[in-house]
Symmetry: C2
Subunit: 440 residues, 2 copies
């Protein structure tokens, strides 16, 4: 057979051990965080019927679906996010207790143009609450998300908050009709990326807004300050009893609850946050690393009270947050917050003296593990010098040798790789010895 | 929008919390097991270039690939196993230290006809050693696999061992030529499933073997007994210096090493084990639950010394084992070894008395978590009776109430759901109280 070039698809990546070890620790920390808040694990298939996913993410999103016909000629697609599958699950299994809190940590696929911090396959870590219309739920998922980032040691981030009803109120106040509303939101959503001048240009050309409308809109978008202050100022610009005021009330409660649990400093109001996805109906939020402002959001979400209804026939309110571990990892690596691991997972390497002593070596490795210490056995016959070189490269703390002398008296030689000191330990005491020394 | 029927594709499944909670625990146990043996985590993409996967799994395997053209008109496929991607990785990154031990826990996809214990998407847990031709490596991955099953509490299983070179020797001894060899192996591989009579029939018809050849073959296949005994009997039927004897030597070392670490009783020789995949070159093994003999293998693998070479241009020896968590879970559930969880992940539910007391309730939940106890906040405004019903259904051990009386004096009411007893605890002491009580 001719040699096949080993390569990965553009936008996809291999995580080799040096990167995967810290990534695995991050994922474990996130999983613990979800559990601490009482979220239950859920897993859904990577492939869904195309019709389940289609039309949920806006026109741009639909174009990015990995879709194909399966062997039974069914139209299928790889999941684009974890939210739509959750909505399907809630509708499909009406016996699930509600309110339903679940987390899911799983890859999603989007055929995007690859770029810095943007991948075609990436793992999302989602926590959602289904069945509660109350801002208590919105505040909790944001608190949860902040806790996950805090657990990971992320120091400098801000959750930028907005509300679809505030956006609707703002559009109404600027005389933007319902037929233009969604398209205008898409343009506004680009503001952090393309800047105010380009945004104004698009609003005038693509969205056909008049100069006075653009000006009014930007008067809203430029309101800045403490969240509760910003809310009061916007409120004064909205007519009483309108949809905008509903959004203000919701945000005020969310901000108040986050303040009560000590996360007030983590959030800011930002009227330019619209979220591209079609299914949001209430609060929306995106989280940015303050030291990498142009890197894109690492955690986002919102309330989607209509999505479950597209499958269930009745509306069931829901709200959630999604942490993108891969972009976060890329960002933290760029910021040097996370360092690559040396690739070692075991503290101890047991060498194999020669073929005749392989069984003793295997027993020795077992004894180390029985002491609660991770241990690898050198898995081949090789010169001891080669085995030691491997141990050094892997960053092993101890190397164990079982040669003919040691084997004859039921002992092993333990070498401390840092100090170079050696010690003979009876095999039967090795587990206890390792347990004693592992913390040092 | 018209309602879309919520459903999953045939052969795919949702894991709802009651099933996912025990499954998650199994996956965590397996991950710990890999790490204890010094295996490093690796992650590869779900999608690969089709040419990477094609031709590695035999004709039947190739037909089962989920393949399509992506948005850039590239031929791509969902990964079929984790072994071929590993081989690609080893070839693609020549700087990886060798011997290279890695584990990967990830879903794979095969467009098989769905059946009991057979799914189109399932998670494989693979451990492999690349770069060692020595039976020490073969023995270790089998020991590792047995340890993973032991850790999961699987009581009754047997690893059925064979060797591709023993199979080759057996075929040679029966006068089966090289051109028929692979097809005959495929037929033999069906023996455990379809029984001896049907197998003999296929050997005569599909493989065109003569009656004497079939008889000779079955004389081999029916050799049974202690592994080392079986090996001696087969050896006596092989000519000296032939390929069959090489296989016998390899198996003898593997069996000896497994005996040395206390796993001798877990393995049996079985000349009918061939493994369908094309890439195996040495030891092969399949593991069956002895209480569910017809359920199919739950863990299998073997040595594949030529596979990396198809990408690297030079042969690099490798051996591995793959545990199929989904089939194992289905089997253990059928055997009632694993029970569904009630779906609760948190011991404590904090209720919300009313909207005015929501901030106190959120702070209370924080205090419980600070005590190291998982806690959920009821995420909506509802009658207390409804919140208690939810707590019962979820199996919460404690329910915490913060009403106006309690809030006024900085206390909370903690109700023990089992005994029904209640206790007032100062909010500032709640974390400590929970930490004290959680073990009881």
């Amino acid at each position: 057979m001719a040699k096949i070039e080993p390569r990965v698809l553009s936008g996809f990546r291999d995580y080799l051990p040096r990167k995967m070890i810290p990534r695995q620790r991050m994922l474990a920390s996130i999983e613990r965080g979800f559990q601490r808040f009482g979220y239950a694990p859920l897993q859904t298939p990577a492939l869904e019927y195309l019709e389940i996913l289609l039309g949920k993410y806006g026109d741009e999103g639909s174009k990015l679906l990995y879709r194909f016909k399966d062997e039974g000629d069914r139209d299928v697609a790889l999941r684009y996010d974890l939210t739509v599958p959750l909505a399907r699950v809630v509708a499909q299994y009406p016996d699930l207790p509600r309110p339903f809190r679940r987390y899911q940590i799983a890859p999603v696929w989007r055929a995007e143009r690859p770029a810095r911090g943007r991948f075609r396959e990436f793992v999302q870590c989602d926590g959602d609450i289904v069945g509660s219309p109350d801002p208590v739920a919105d505040a909790e998922v944001i608190q949860l998300g902040c806790t996950l980032l805090d657990d990971l040691g992320v120091k400098s981030y801000k959750v930028r908050l907005n509300h679809r009803k505030v956006l609707a109120g703002m559009e109404a106040a600027c005389g933007i009709g319902a037929e233009q509303a969604v398209k205008v939101l898409r343009t506004i959503d680009k503001l952090p990326k393309i800047g105010p001048e380009a945004t104004k240009g698009l609003l005038a050309t693509e969205n056909c807004l008049g100069a006075d409308q653009v000006e009014k809109l930007f008067a809203f978008l430029e309101i800045a300050g403490e969240p509760l202050e910003v809310l009061s100022r916007i409120e004064s610009l909205f007519p009483e009893g309108g949809v905008g005021r509903e959004g203000i009330d919701g945000l005020r409660q969310v901000v108040g609850l986050l303040g009560a649990v000590g996360f007030g400093g983590r959030v800011a109001l930002d009227l330019s946050i619209a979220r591209g996805l079609d299914y949001y109906t209430g609060t929306v939020y995106e989280t940015f690393l303050e030291d990498l402002p142009t890197f894109g959001a690492v955690m986002s979400g919102g309330r989607y009270d209509g999505l479950v209804g597209t499958f269930a026939g009745e509306d069931i309110p829901a709200v959630g947050i999604s942490l993108g571990i891969d972009r976060l990892l890329a960002g933290l690596t760029e910021l040097k917050v996370i360092e690559e691991s040396q690739g070692a997972v075991a503290d101890v390497l047991v060498t194999i003296f020669d073929g005749a002593h392989a069984p003793q070596a295997a027993r020795t490795a077992q004894a180390v593990r029985a002491g609660g210490v991770d241990c690898e056995l050198y898995p081949a016959l090789a010169k001891l010098s080669k085995q030691f070189k491997y141990a050094e490269r892997r960053g092993a703390r101890w190397v164990v040798i079982v040669g003919p002398d040691e084997a004859a008296c039921g002992e092993v030689q333990v070498k401390n790789m840092e100090s170079g000191s050696q010690e003979r330990v009876p095999l039967e005491r090795l587990g206890a010895w390792m347990a004693e020394h592992k913390g040092r």
